[in-house]
Amino acid sequence: MRPRIQLLSPELIERILGEAFELLWTPGVRVGSAPVIELLRAADVEVREGVAHVPEGLVRRCLASVPRDFYLYNRQGENAVHYGGDDVHFDPGSCCVQVLDRDTLQARPSEIRDLVRIVQVAEKLSQFAAQSTAVVCTDAPGEIGDLYRLYVVLRHSNKPVVTGSFSAEGLPGMIDLLATDCGGREKLRQHPRAVFDVCPSPPLNWSEFGSRNLLDLARAGVPAEIVAMPLAGGTAPVTLAGSVTQHAAEVLAGITLHQLAGSGSPVVWGGAPAIFDMRTGAAPMGAVETAMLNMACAEVGKSLGMPTHGYLVATDSKCVDAQAGAESARSAILGALTGINMISGAGMIESLACHSVEKLVMDAESIASAYRLVRGIEASGDTLATGMFAQIGLSGEFLKLKETRAMFRQEQHIPSAVIDRGAEASHDTFARAGEGVDELVAVYEAPVISEDVLREFEGIVEREAERAGCAVGL
């Protein structure tokens, strides 16, 4: 039996969806782009003063055409991430512009070398089924910052990638990079290696940038992950149930736009909902209520049979300390018990403002524990205990039993040295994680990429830099 956790009753989910459909009609959804308005009007949706009033029937028709599951593929063309059912995967959190410097313990602007290090570490940790374009490289041209991150990740990883574009104009170049990587647009559609996070703006606003990304992804057949991020009490109703309702409406609106543009294209019911801190105005990503929002939002998506995503395993602490460990481990376990298909956020501190590769290594241990937990307790063998007692009586010599040796590895998760279970006094988690980072980087091997593909990558980066009016040195 797979252990699971459920926060919402079926009745509450029904109410949430009922009100979400109501919201899509009244007050409706703000839509900012002319092509989106055209698309909606072509589907007989009334759009007045930039606000679309979307009928439930249309949304339900669009929901029906969404694939219930799909895969992301690695560079070798093997399916490596399954979006669907209760399968759970993790990827590092993404998109911040700072990293925690191990030596000074201060946040500093993230650079190409930092992204490379994060990718190298995540590549060697099996807990991360996918990479993410984890940090913006502030030493690369900002105008093509989104594309450049993906370029760096593709050069250094074989794993699937969770990414995203910073503008409507930035996306085509990123899709070109991915198509080059896998051998063409059609292959990319058949065996996508990346999923793109696309975010509505709360409340109920699909901006020009977000909605154009949705349309372009749907048409290219590249998976989109709708990351709606209501802040309970700030940009959404203060109640958790109210925020989950707004989240559902925002994602449903996104799915409608997406499926109208490319029926049958893969799309994920994702999110980064959080509560709103009433003292600081920040979004506390490590709060238990934030985890509850992510769980509940995923439950609503799962009730519709959708692939799901959430933002967990992050902390509000400014360093890799006890708070960071507690908040991140707690939400990793809660997310896994919910069966969220892709859980982003590992490695992130300071409420998603900063990345720490040491924390990524620490979080990998929490994730491993979460995976162990969801495997549950199985009855293996003909007997549970009597067979073993039949062999050794009351001698207590369990360590010598063949069964012990044969099964302890599947019964117990054996942590890395980052977790202190040793006999001798050890230094703290951060220091051990730092050693873990160094060890993983030392055994990292760069992917084998042909010279032709590398040249094409560089050509795309240079072309996009020229388009954006900036210079790039490769």
């Binding site: 360590l399 010598k400 039993l401 063949k402 040796r405 054996i414 040295a417 006999a423 001798e424």
Partner: protein
């Protein structure tokens, strides 16, 4: 490495007692010197297993399986060694027991198994052993090392009592006293005048080897 010895070493590393026994019998049939078979074949496996355990590449059940395989091989080879008048070099004689009042013996048993597989001769007195019993056995077998295990803070005092008894009987410093157990610390070991302590069974092997080589612990 000679392929026959390599296979012996491998049988130990795989923790395969049947295979180890079979290789030992084959060796005898082929006229291989049984002492050579132990030293160059099977014991090399145990040494390597200990190293792998120390590096975290092998786990306790694996290590015990290796020790069982070693035992199976030695059992086959020993009668022939006796017949030839040769015997496996004994690294040292170790009297083991759990302190008076303490019946927890997993740690002590592990130490015994690992030391035995490595070539120490073990005299295991079991659990709830009095200082007098430790002294009597150590004298009887002319022990090099006395190992006293205690899990509980309440029975750790029993370790001190054994060391005092060894002192009273004039057996130290020739006989080395080592201690172990969950609550035992280097501070406690120093306080009661122990010759050494280790936190794990694999470390105990290193400790025992050092005591035999140098008369003192360097770890």
């Amino acid at each position: 490495m000679d392929p026959v010895f390599a296979a012996m070493r491998q049988s130990i590393l795989e923790g395969a007692p049947e295979r180890a026994g079979e290789l030992a019998r084959q060796a005898l049939g082929d006229g291989v010197d049984p002492l050579e078979a132990v030293n160059q074949g099977f014991a090399a496996g145990i040494t390597s297993a200990g190293e792998q355990f120390g590096r975290g590449e092998m786990f306790l059940p694996d290590l015990l399986a290796c020790a069982e395989a070693m035992k199976a091989a030695v059992k086959v080879l020993e009668p022939e060694m006796l017949k030839q008048g040769s015997r496996r070099e004994v690294l040292g004689k170790v009297v083991l027991g759990t302190a008076r009042g303490d019946i927890h013996d997993i740690g002590k048993n592990l130490v015994g198994t690992i030391l035995s597989a490595a070539g120490f001769q073990i005299f295991d007195l079991g659990t709830n052993v009095t200082p007098e019993q430790f002294v009597a056995k150590a004298r009887e077998v002319d022990a090099d090392i006395v190992g006293i295990s205690a899990l509980l803070t309440t029975t750790m005092a029993g370790q001190k009592a054994v060391i005092e008894a060894l002192d009273r009987n004039g057996m130290r410093p020739r006989v080395k006293a080592i201690i172990g157990g969950a609550a035992v610390t280097s501070k406690w070991a120093a306080e009661i005048g122990a010759d050494g302590f280790s936190r794990s069974a694999s470390d105990a092997l290193e400790l025992a080897k050092q005591l035999m080589a140098h008369g003192e612990a360097t770890v």
